[in-house]
């Protein structure tokens, strides 16, 4: 594993993202769309409101903050491999001395860093807004340490998981748009899991948050290995499945 090569891929990807209106638009607009209405709702909750109402409103905004790392990264990640193939840049890259695992890790990091930065920025804005602008009942529900810890830990780990999902789809899809649509749909089941925590159906505690975070981290690492194995150079270059052929010894 060459850190230098991974870094080279990250730099190139970030440069491309910065000049891609679709990526910039997705990363900038979706968080605004997700946050504006629930924030207004939160600020309108009066001090006399019941705990149930406050929990429901906080649950919605917590869920929406977790949607960002679940929805945005896979859409961008889904473009990473099939998009390169479509624009003809994959073949030159694969003739350079880089391992598929390095290429994919670089691509994943390039999506991960801005996605998580945006998600954390949203969390910061919401937390500060609630701390100084919302009713005390809302403040006490939101500023529940295990809930905040879960939010802080799950944001990057969920992002990483959905990024690997997006890249996995990208290595197998025939078309970039199809890959992006599939990746969006594939990330949705995770919302069920995040809803349980956001709406405090599963009451988050520090051990539970740490336990789930460890499980997610394990899944993320396994996903990196798995997706690297899914990356089939021959299939991507020729569009044919080489498993039907029998290469000579040393190639498998």
């Amino acid at each position: 594993m060459s850190v230098h090569r991974v870094g080279t891929v990250v730099r190139k990807e970030v440069r491309e993202f910065r000049r891609n209106r679709f990526v910039i638009g997705t990363m900038a607009l979706l968080p605004l769309v997700f946050l504006t209405t629930p924030m207004i709702t939160l600020f309108r909750i009066p001090a006399s409101a019941s705990g149930t109402k406050a929990r429901a409103a906080v649950g919605v905004i917590s869920l929406l903050m977790l949607i960002v790392p679940v929805v945005i990264p896979p859409v961008i990640a889904a473009y990473s491999v099939v998009g390169e193939r479509d624009q003809g840049t994959l073949e030159p890259v694969l003739t350079a001395p880089i391992r598929p695992s390095e290429l994919l890790l670089g691509k994943a990091i390039a999506v991960f860093v801005p996605s998580v930065a945006i998600a954390y920025a949203m969390l910061f804005v919401v937390a500060v807004g609630i701390r100084f602008g919302a009713a005390p009942i809302v403040r006490s529900v939101f500023w529940h340490p295990p809930q905040l810890l879960a939010q802080l830990l799950f944001t990057p780990l969920l992002a990483l998981w959905t990024i690997w999902l997006g890249i996995a789809i990208s290595t197998r899809a025939r078309d970039a748009r199809v890959a992006q649509q599939l990746a969006t749909v594939a990330g949705l089941p995770l919302l069920g899991f995040t809803s349980l925590v956001s709406f405090q159906i599963v009451r988050p505690s520090v051990p539970l948050a740490l336990g789930l975070a460890f499980a997610l981290l394990t899944i993320d690492l396994a996903a990196w290995r798995f997706v690297s194995r899914l990356f089939d150079c021959e299939r991507l270059i020729t569009g044919r499945n080489p498993s039907r052929d029998t290469p000579p010894r040393g190639w498998r």
């Binding site: 230098h4 440069r15 000049r19 624009q87 073949e91 030159p92 003739t95 021959e234 000579p248």
Partner: protein, 335 residues
């Protein structure tokens, strides 16, 4: 040569070659033995064997779908062979050696495959990083100078014409100072002047001892730049120097033109060394000869002795295109 030195040069460069260490055993940069590649039921390359010497410019010719690009992809470790073996830059072709082989080679596909949102410099910086090159800016500058793009460093690749993109692709292939360069149709889409510049770059690589593996449809290009050529149509049809191939396939001929038809051509052409002859028009004759240089003076004397007004007497030249058409047509007729 250190990794930081700018080693990329164009035509006429005198920078010493860096690549002797990468040549295979016995001076062979590429050695292919009984290589076959199958895609399902379809045979793309069948039982191909050949060697390319270190520092040689080797041309690979063949019709569309002949397996040229497939063979380049196999040798570049992008796809696995179905059977057979090969050594590239002295390294056994295998999945485990992919990284080591790719460190020694550079491939320029027919579609240069540039990141259109990045500038020329950013595209090359990316590849310099993948190869772990020292002093990337110096190398990028040298590579761009070699292909005549020194002034376009900061242009977005998306704004370049097809020909200029092709040249950026070529600069990328030169960037890592490779032992072997695979060029897949490098002059496709280039105007004649730009094509000539590419030929100059290839000559420059040859003078530095870099092995060039060139696939092309342009037969005059192969004839102009290649030391040897191979003609492929799924299997290897022939391999050799262009003049060797001509000699192998076609008998040597003398073309005679006279002002008026000869009265008794059978007597005039009864010269030692003339194997047979035929009339090729009014006052035009084609003579099959054993050696044109030896026979031509004797034929000239015979024509003068017969009182013929000789307009021209020349050696018949077959082009590489004639060789190609003869071989490919023959295979297609048989199949």
């Amino acid at each position: 040569m250190t990794s930081g030195e700018a080693a990329v040069v164009g035509a006429g460069s005198t920078v010493p070659g860096p690549t002797e260490q990468a040549a295979g055993s016995g001076g062979e940069a590429i050695a292919v033995e009984h290589l076959t590649k199958r895609f399902g039921e379809r045979l793309a390359v069948e039982d191909v064997s050949f060697g390319v010497a270190a520092g040689e410019v080797f041309g690979f010719l063949g019709p569309n779908g002949a397996g040229k690009t497939t063979l380049v992809r196999v040798l570049a470790t992008l796809i696995s062979p179905s059977a057979g073996s090969a050594r590239v830059a002295g390294i056994e072709l295998s999945a485990a050696n992919g990284l080591a082989i790719r460190q020694q080679i550079a491939v320029m596909p027919e579609n240069p495959g540039l990141y259109l949102r990045l500038t020329v410099s950013e595209n090359l910086e990316f590849f310099a990083g993948l190869y772990g090159l020292g002093q990337p800016r110096v190398r990028i500058g040298s590579a761009l100078e070699a292909v005549g793009l020194a002034g376009r460093v900061n242009d977005l690749c998306g704004s370049l014409s097809k020909g200029l993109r092709q040249r950026v692709g070529l600069a990328r292939a030169l960037l890592s100072d490779p032992a072997i360069v695979f060029l897949d149709e490098p002059t496709s889409g280039l105007d004649p002047v730009a094509s000539r510049e590419v030929h100059g770059v290839i000559d420059g690589l040859r003078s530095r001892g870099v092995t060039v593996f060139l696939t092309t449809h342009r037969l005059e290009e192969a004839e102009r730049v290649c030391d040897r050529v191979a003609i492929l149509n799924t299997s290897l049809l022939t391999i050799g120097r262009p003049d060797e191939l001509r000699d192998r396939l076609f008998t040597k001929t003398l073309l005679v033109r006279t002002a008026a038809p000869l009265a008794q051509p059978e007597r005039v052409f009864a010269v030692p060394g003339v194997e047979r002859w035929h009339i090729d028009g009014d006052g035009a004759y084609v003579l099959s000869v054993s050696d044109a240089r030896l026979v031509a003076p004797a034929v000239t004397r015979a024509l003068v002795a017969a009182g013929a007004d000789v307009l021209s007497l020349a050696e018949g030249r077959h082009s590489l295109e004639d060789v190609y058409v003869e071989l490919v047509d023959d295979v297609e007729a048989r199949s």
